[in-house]
């Protein structure tokens, strides 16, 4: 096994929510998994299965109650808020179901935002943001605000924002959930293209048709991994 190519390494991750009193919710009971560079993984599960909690932990939005989480070989499970913010900024590109763009800012500024938090200078920021928007096919839409764009275009801006800092993984939470089928397919095609270019993609979804685009499907149920299957043999990084 080539350890250097492991991006995400979860070992016996548990997440318990204290609901007050003696009541506790075990969102994740005991989860261990590894994701390597240039994998295209779908995490599936019904609501309440713990997949959102798993995604939050993978995305460094939340920390596990116990267990070890190594990101690119660095232990992130005990990091404080600011350290986690830095990891999210540099290593993780989020794509959300509801796009989550800033309504008052145009596409360019939305895409620039991670670069602002990364401390990139203004001219370089504009250049990179422009490049990322061109990459997702929105080079002509840089000055449009989200409400002047279609749903598919908004999600492309979100993808450009996720990619602009050249993160280690792209973490997409139901990226087609708010799109019609045709537009959803277009976004999935974009993801496939990004995967071919070498990006590591983690897709969280409950739709089989969307999960089928991934090359590996992890099913979560009751806070445990139910199954973990490789559906398409990855040529570049064999598992």
């Amino acid at each position: 096994m080539d350890n250097t190519s492991v991006v995400i390494n979860l070992q016996h991750i548990r997440k318990v929510y204290d609901m007050g009193g003696a009541e506790e919710v075990h969102a994740l009971a005991d989860v261990s998994l590894q994701i390597r560079r240039n994998e295209y993984v779908a995490i599936m599960g019904p609501s309440g299965s713990g997949k959102s909690t798993l995604m939050n932990i993978i995305g460094c939005l939340d920390t596990p109650t116990s267990g070890l989480y190594e990101f690119n070989g660095v232990n992130v499970s005990q990091m404080n808020d600011n350290q986690l913010a830095k990891v999210r900024n540099k290593e993780i590109g989020f794509v959300f179901q509801t796009f989550n763009l800033l309504a008052r800012s145009n596409s360019l500024h939305n895409v620039e935002l991670p670069l602002i938090y990364a401390g990139v200078g203004s001219a370089e920021r504009k250049r990179l943001a422009h490049e990322a928007l061109t990459h997702v096919g929105l080079g002509e839409r840089v000055n449009h605000k989200p409400n002047e764009l279609s749903g598919g275009q908004r999600q492309r801006v979100a993808v450009a924002r996720a990619l602009v800092n050249k993160p280690s993984i792209l973490l997409a939470d139901e990226p087609t959930g708010n799109l019609d089928t045709k537009t959803g397919e277009e976004i999935m095609a974009l993801f496939e293209e990004l995967h071919r270019q070498g990006n590591t993609i983690v897709l969280v979804t409950h739709e089989e048709s969307i999960a089928e685009h991934a090359h590996r499907i992890i099913r979560v149920r009751d806070g445990l991994i139910e199954s973990d299957k490789i559906t398409v043999k990855n040529k570049t990084v064999p598992v």
Partner: protein
């Protein structure tokens, strides 16, 4: 690198806050109203105090900053009036004795005062302040002659019937004619006007030269009697220290009065600083009370800002979540909302200044003042300060939001 980072974060914070203000124009304006009122009252207060101070300084300069006044009464702190009242009057003869012994002074002039009615043709000035003095008075006072010349030593020694009059006296007696060379009646005696003083203005009309008529000491003594107490003006030499000169003068006066080492002074040495100090205390109290009251209005304004910032943070919980997800640190979020609060307050401060500037022009009709630049900066600084203080708690709450909860917020 860190500096560039911080600067771009600052810039981002300001841009976001301006966007937020633009998006909620009416709300921002209403919120900032409290600050606006506070800033208007603070600037008007500061402008008024500045005006009174300037008026005072102008008046106090009439006494001259390097002139000591040896007198029976002290200008300030006459708490035990009878003690001063029972002191022996100062005598004209002291002047020569002082002049002989003093080393740190370069001009000495005695003054004797009386209140007399003054007439010129049909014009009259009742209860004018008539001062008998010598030719040295011009040096040993803070006055400036506008027209003519002060009386010479010969005129002063010889008791000539000449006079130098203050600006208000000239205006009252000679509304349409040139006073120079005219003869006026002072307490019934004729005096020829040979000089008019420059107007001093200010708060102490009686004490400035404006309402006074100066005549030679010997004329005064022969026309109005010798029973008046004398006060002695002593100008401290240019290169001498005021306190040294005061000490020397005190020693000389004690010798003249034959005081034993243990005895208290039975005269007072007054100077401009005494008035300045007392005045400073008075304006200090007024300013303290005034700023406390205006500070209250700023405080109320600050509460308004804090309230609306809590609303703003709640409304934008999701935005905070997004920003955190893509790498905004706590500090960044904190600054964003602090910047917004500060911008709203600054807006109020600027509008406040725009309103209070014309008001200060109106005030300048009464007081010799305009809004000083320092007040402008003070107002902007205060409004920024209020913004940062009142924005802190809401901004802190925003910065502490959990990104998962914030993203889920509808």
């Amino acid at each position: 690198m860190q500096i560039i980072h911080t600067i771009s974060e600052l810039k981002e914070g300001v841009i976001i806050s301006l966007q937020a203000i633009r998006a909620n124009k009416m709300r921002s304006v209403l919120t900032t109203l409290g600050i606006l009122i506070g800033i208007v009252s603070v600037t008007m207060m500061a402008t008024a105090i500045e005006g009174v101070n300037r008026a005072f300084e102008k008046s106090a300069s009439a006494f001259g900053s390097k002139i000591l006044y040896v007198q029976k009464f002290s200008w300030v702190g006459n708490d035990d009036w009878w003690k001063y009242r029972n002191r022996k009057d100062l005598k004209v003869e002291y002047v020569d004795a002082v002049a002989r012994q003093v080393t740190l002074a370069d001009a000495i002039a005695p003054t004797v005062d009386a209140v007399k009615d003054v007439h010129f043709e049909s014009h009259s000035m009742l209860s004018a302040w008539v001062t008998g003095t010598t030719s040295s008075y011009e040096q040993a006072s803070g006055t400036t002659i506008e027209d003519g010349r002060f009386f010479s030593q010969e005129e002063s020694d010889g008791g000539r019937p000449v006079c130098a009059i203050g600006a208000n006296v000239a205006e009252t007696l000679f509304p349409s004619t040139d006073p120079m060379g005219q003869t006026i009646k002072v307490g019934g005696y004729p005096y020829r006007v040979i000089a008019v003083f420059e107007k001093q203005g200010g708060l102490f009309g009686t004490f400035t030269s404006d309402n006074r008529i100066f005549i030679p000491l010997n004329s005064f003594l022969s026309d109005f009697g010798t029973h008046h107490g004398v006060s002695i003006n002593v100008r401290v030499a240019k290169d001498a220290d005021l306190d040294d000169a005061k000490e020397e003068l005190r020693g000389i006066m004690r010798k003249i009065r034959h005081l034993n080492p243990g005895q208290e002074d039975d005269f007072s040495i007054n100077e401009q600083d005494l008035l300045t100090n007392v005045f400073g205390q008075i304006t200090g109290v007024i300013a303290g009370v005034g700023f406390f009251i205006t500070g209250l209005s700023l405080f109320v304004g600050g509460i308004g800002i804090m309230n609306i910032m809590y609303v703003s943070v709640t409304e934008r919980t999701r935005e905070i979540g997004i920003r955190k997800a893509i790498g905004a640190r706590r500090r960044t979020i904190l600054f964003q909302f602090l910047a917004e609060a500060a911008m709203i307050c600054l807006l109020g401060g600027i509008i406040g200044l725009i309103i209070s500037y014309p008001l200060s022009l109106i005030a300048s009709q009464v007081l010799p003042t305009a809004m000083p630049l320092s007040v402008v900066f003070l107002a902007l600084l205060v409004s920024l300060f209020v913004g940062v203080i009142s924005g802190f708690l809401p901004a802190y709450r925003a910065s502490k939001l959990d990104p998962v909860d914030a993203l889920r917020y509808e």
